[in-house]
Structures are given as structure tokens and as C-alpha cells.
């Protein structure tokens, strides 16, 4: 066993010497993470630009726009009617708020004023969210307007100055807000279902499988270098060689996921300490399963190119079937075929921890499958290595 660890140590040392492998193994996860951070900005608050055509020059339309602009994540973009129509026509915009020219005048006269959402189709997902936010702002304005009207009508003819009426209305509204009948509180339990925790499991599993291609080359490289034959004339036996290579492959896959998990923990705050540890355990078991499959390819492959290509095709197959890039519906044919993919089980386990806030105990089934693949894969690769020419 000691010699197997020397093989692992030597392999890791060679890995650290190889700049290309090092860049692939360590820098790529960091770059991916930076891209994720750039895309999701480290927070998941809804952000959008609200296109508004304001044909009214009155105070109420100005107030509406001001209120809208104050909503967190919303930025108002004022357009002319012509610009808005052109953009809607080209589908550059899917929803625009039109404030008609008589909006303020109608409100002052005591009649009901109208606003118009011009939209293509259903306005798109972002348009629908925007429309809801605008409706909320209008609703608040409505309430304020009603309060102001009622106070005015009650105080009409009593010689009270306009300023005093305005102050009274503001005080009343503030009091109303503080004594709201329904209060909504946010309570965060486990992970939140946002983009990061939906996609992170897939990205992690993809990286572990990419390292499979590197593991697949491990025996071929040794053979090409001539050191495989030399090693087999020393006291090192083939079992120790295999265990050593296997452990180095596990280490390589695990380090990649470790980087991603640590960065996610530090920046996105996706984990509790316990769920972070659970994710590390899943990473380790998955890396072992991927390394064992890499060893099978390593035993079969006769050239570095052969090993790399078998590894890449195998990885893409696993990634596609395993629901890394797109969700696979439960019970579908693809889901049934996907049962042969390691990613299915790894994604399942990671999602349970990261997206659903589950514990390690909830992932026992996928973990058992991955551990089984690791053991069986290692035994098969060893048998193949014994059987193929040049193996021992």
C-alpha cells in the first residue's frame, strides 16, 4: 500500500509539473466560477428595465414614474410612442407601459384614469413580472389617491390650508403602512431555488467527468514513457500500481470540485457548514466512480489520443443523459436511459443537498450507486489490464 501511495504522490507531482494539465484542472473551475459570478452577479434579485411611454405631462404620471423608479431592481427607461412601437415590432421589447396624455387631468377631475400595457404575446416572463410590479405601484398610488380625495372632501370648506391637508394625508398614510393588516416576512430554510444552485450541481459533475479524460491517459502515458515496464520490474505489483493511479485520479477530480465548492461557499453562500461537508463527501464518491471508469478506459486505450477521445465521448454521453444541461422529466424515456449515466446519480445527490437543503442521509441511494460503480469499475479495469497485451 505504501508503494501505491508513492505512485499517487508521483502522479500528483507530475500533474503539478504539467502546465497544460494544471491549467485545465485548477484554473478552468476558477474561470467557470468567475463566469457564473459575472452572469449571476453574486445575487439573485430580479433586475429589469421598465420601458415607459409618458404622453401625459401632469403631476400624477411623474409621480407614477418616480415610484416605479424607486422599486429595487427596476430602472425606468422613457421612450417616445414611435420608439416603443418600433421596438415592440422588432421584438426588442415585449412589454411597454403607455401613460395616456389625459392621465393626470382625468384623475384631477375625479374620473377613472387608464394605463395601457402594450405587449407582444404574453409579454414574456420578464414582462409579466414587470407588469405585476407596475400593478403593485399603481395600487399603492390608488390607495394614496383615495385617502387624499376623502380627506379633501371631508375638510372642504373648513378653511384649512392646502399644506396642512397634505401633511395630514402623509401622516395618515405612514401610519397605515406601519399598521398594515397583512405583513409578509421572509424565512430562508436550506438552499434557495435560484440559478446558481440549480446549475452548480451540473457544473460540478461535468468537471469531475472532464478529469476522467485525464485519468484515462494515465497508463498510456506511463507506457509511452517506458516507465510502466520499468515499474513492473520493481517490487511494485500491478495491484499497487492500479490503486496508486486510481487514487491520483480521485484526487484530481476531487480537487476540481473542491475549488468550485469552496468558491460557491465563500461567494454565493450556498451552504451551511454541514451541507458543505455533505457536498464534499458526494464529490469524493463521485470522483472515485469517475476515476474507476477512467481506469477502464486507461486499460483499454493503446494511445494518448485514443484515451482522450474515448474519455471525451464517454463524458459527453454521460453529461447529456445525466441532466447536466437540461432537466430530464421524471418518467420520460430519456430519464430511463439516463439511469446508465453517472451524472444522473451525482446530480441527484448534489441537488438534494444544494437546491433542496437535504442531508447526506437523503442521498444514500445515489451515493450507494456511485460507490458501487467505483468498486466494480476498479475491478473490471484491473481484469482488462491483465488481459490486454502489454498489461500484466
Amino acid at each position: 500500500m505504501k508503494r501505491a501511495l508513492f505512485i499517487t504522490f508521483n502522479e500528483v507531482r507530475l500533474y503539478l509539473q504539467d502546465k497544460a494539465d494544471l491549467a485545465f484542472g485548477l484554473l478552468l473551475p476558477v474561470i467557470t466560477f468567475a463566469l457564473m459570478y459575472g452572469a449571476f452577479g453574486g445575487q439573485t434579485m430580479f433586475k429589469a428595465t421598465a420601458p415607459v411611454v409618458n404622453e401625459d405631462k401632469g403631476a400624477y404620471s411623474a409621480q407614477l414614474i418616480e415610484q416605479l423608479d424607486k422599486v429595487e431592481g427596476i430602472k425606468v427607461e422613457l421612450l417616445t410612442a414611435g420608439e416603443a412601437d418600433t421596438k415592440l415590432e422588432r421584438s426588442d421589447l415585449l412589454l411597454v407601459l403607455f401613460i395616456p396624455s389625459d392621465f393626470s387631468e382625468t384623475l384631477v377631475s375625479g374620473d377613472k384614469a387608464g394605463l395601457v400595457f402594450k405587449q407582444r404575446g404574453n409579454g414574456g416572463q420578464e414582462g409579466q413580472i414587470l407588469a405585476s410590479i407596475i400593478r403593485g405601484v399603481v395600487e399603492t398610488m390608488n390607495q394614496e389617491f383615495l385617502v387624499r380625495s376623502q380627506v379633501r372632501s371631508n375638510l372642504e370648506g373648513k378653511g384649512i390650508p392646502e399644506n396642512s391637508i397634505e401633511v395630514t394625508v402623509k401622516e395618515y398614510l405612514d401610519k397605515e403602512r406601519q399598521q398594515a393588516a397583512v405583513v409578509i416576512a421572509e424565512e430562508v430554510t436550506g438552499g434557495s431555488p435560484d440559478f446558481i444552485n440549480q446549475y452548480l450541481p451540473g457544473i460540478i459533475t461535468m468537471y469531475v467527468l472532464f478529469s476522467l479524460s485525464l485519468s484515462a491517459r494515465t497508463i498510456v502515458e506511463e507506457r509511452k514513457r517506458g516507465t510502466l515496464e520499468r515499474l513492473l520490474t520493481t517490487r511494485l505489483n500491478a495491484h499497487e500500481l492500479f490503486i496508486g493511479k486510481f487514487l491520483s485520479s480521485v484526487a484530481r477530480g476531487f480537487v476540481q470540485t473542491f475549488i468550485l465548492l469552496v468558491l460557491s461557499y465563500a461567494v454565493f453562500r450556498l451552504f451551511t457548514p454541514l451541507s458543505f461537508l455533505a457536498s464534499l463527501v458526494i464529490s469524493l464518491v463521485f470522483a472515485a466512480a469517475a476515476a474507476a471508469l477512467g481506469m477502464i478506459i486507461a486499460s483499454i486505450a493503446r494511445s494518448e489520443d485514443g484515451a482522450t477521445w474515448i474519455g471525451v465521448v464517454f463524458t459527453m454521453f454521460m453529461v447529456m443523459l445525466g441532466g447536466t444541461f437540461f432537466p430530464v422529466s421524471e418518467g420520460s424515456t430519456l430519464a430511463t436511459i439516463g439511469k446508465v449515466s453517472l451524472n444522473t446519480y451525482a446530480n441527484d445527490a448534489f441537488r438534494t443537498i444544494i437546491a433542496e437543503g437535504g442531508s447526506l442521509g437523503d442521498t444514500l441511494q445515489p451515493l450507494a450507486v456511485l460507490a458501487g460503480v467505483a468498486v466494480v469499475g476498479l475491478v473490471i479495469s484491473r481484469l482488462i489490464f491483465r488481459a490486454v497485451p502489454g498489461g500484466k
Partner: protein, 249 residues
């Protein structure tokens, strides 16, 4: 009479239709340098691979230091050192790291491996390059490291498969001196080459191989005596006489 350290009996190996080794038998005495001489493709490397436990023979027996290669491969590997024909080094590592690593594989502990590595580097005249990356070494220096690695673990029997191929005369002479020095210390050496003068200079006895068979086996003096005056005849002449063609054909 020195004891037989290695005994090879009727060794056979085929690769599909090609009979690479066909009934090879010989024995090597303890402390001698035994040469396997023959042109490329004669079966020398295949024979060495079988003797060094890398390749299983189709039939025949090999005993090294009293251990059967077929049944006690592990015991055999603990007393042999192999310097393969092709360089077998980790070029991204330093000379010292290469040697310590193979020393550990030969069963040495860390301290022993390091001490032996430094001794062997000194023997090869490379101690000042111990920490240099092998990739930056000249061909001759790499050959010397290749040989130095084979000495890790103090093997009793050393296999040297064409250890001087493609190197400058200076490095070649250095290796010759090392090999003779190792013999003086009691090491048994099996040496393959297709350089006549090398075999003539180093080997006590020589087996000449051709087409997978041993066609002659004796001391260089006796082999040369078979066709003329040993002072005037070369091993090249012996080979020409035996096979009807030049060794380098």
C-alpha cells in the same frame, strides 16, 4: 567454479505467427558480464523482457538467484535491476526525484533511497546536476541516469539492454567504466548490444543470437579462435561466418 546465478532453459515466445524467441538456453555465472549479441530483431529484447518478469514466456524455465521467474516473480524482482533500451524516465522531474522514486519502488526507505541516489549520481558523474530537470539533460546524461536508476536497491543481477545506443563517445566510455566497476563489486550483468567492440571490451562470455535462437555461446576468445587468430579476428567476423551476413545488415 563460480555458481550459476541465472539459468535459462528452452525459452520460447511467439507473437502471433512470429517466433521471436525459439528455444533459447544459457546460464550466467555469478559476477560475470554476459553478453547477448545480435542484430536488431534477433530476439534480445524479448528475451530480456521475459527474464525481467515483464513478459510471460510461452514455455521454458528461468531461474534467477534460485527463484523461478514464473512462480516467484516478486522474489526475482527484488534482486534484479533493469536498464531498458529506451529511456524510461520522468522528464519533468529532477534526476534526484527520479532516482528516489524508483528507489522507493525498489523497497528502500526515504533516507536510504536518497543516500543511494546521491551515491549513484556521483558514480555517473552527475551529482552536480542532481536537482536539474531531466528534460534539460543531454542524451548521454539521460542514458547515465537511466543506468543509475537500474542500480537503485542494490540489485544482484543487472539487465542492461543496449545502454549506450545513440550517445557520444565520452558518455559511452563513462558507462563502460561504471559497468566494469560494478562487476568488480560482485554484480552479475546481462548485457545486450549490437556493438561488437562493446561486447569484446566488456563481456566475459557471449551468446550470439539470430532469428530468435542462440547460434553460438562462449568466451570472446574462444568464439574468435573458432575462425582464426583471436588477435586478428573480430566478433563481426565471427557473426559473418556463422550467419553469412554482417551484424549491422
Amino acid at each position: 567454479m563460480p555458481e550459476e546465478f541465472m539459468v535459462v532453459k528452452d525459452l520460447q515466445k511467439s507473437f502471433k505467427d512470429l517466433k521471436a524467441v525459439n528455444g533459447v538456453s544459457f546460464s550466467i555465472l555469478k559476477g560475470e558480464i554476459f553478453g547477448l549479441l545480435g542484430p536488431n530483431g534477433a530476439g534480445k529484447t524479448t528475451t530480456i523482457r521475459m527474464l525481467s518478469t515483464v513478459l510471460e514466456s510461452d514455455s521454458g524455465d528461468i531461474t534467477i538467484g534460485g527463484h523461478s521467474v514464473r512462480h516467484e516473480a516478486e522474489a526475482v524482482r527484488s534482486i534484479i535491476g533493469v536498464c531498458p533500451q529506451e529511456l524510461a524516465l520522468y522528464e519533468d522531474l529532477s534526476a534526484l526525484d527520479n532516482m528516489v522514486f524508483f528507489g522507493r519502488m525498489a523497497g528502500l526507505d526515504g533516507k536510504e533511497a536518497r543516500a543511494q541516489a546521491m551515491t549513484n549520481l556521483e558514480l555517473m558523474g552527475l551529482v552536480d546536476r542532481a536537482k536539474g530537470k531531466v528534460a534539460k539533460f543531454s542524451g548521454g546524461m539521460k542514458r547515465r541516469i537511466n543506468l543509475a536508476i537500474a542500480l537503485m536497491g542494490h540489485p544482484q543481477l543487472l539487465f542492461l539492454d543496449e545502454p549506450t545506443v545513440g550517445i557520444d563517445p565520452q558518455s559511452r566510455n563513462h558507462i563502460y567504466e561504471n559497468i566494469l566497476g560494478l562487476q568488480k563489486k560482485g554484480m552479475t550483468i546481462l548485457y545486450t548490444t549490437h556493438y561488437m567492440e562493446e561486447a569484446d571490451r566488456l563481456c566475459n562470455r557471449i551468446a550470439i543470437m539470430d532469428a530468435g535462437e542462440v547460434i553460438a555461446l562462449d568466451t570472446t576468445y574462444q568464439l574468435k579462435s573458432q575462425i582464426g587468430s583471436p588477435d586478428k579476428v573480430t566478433l563481426e567476423d565471427v557473426f559473418l561466418k556463422l550467419t553469412g551476413r554482417s551484424l549491422r545488415d
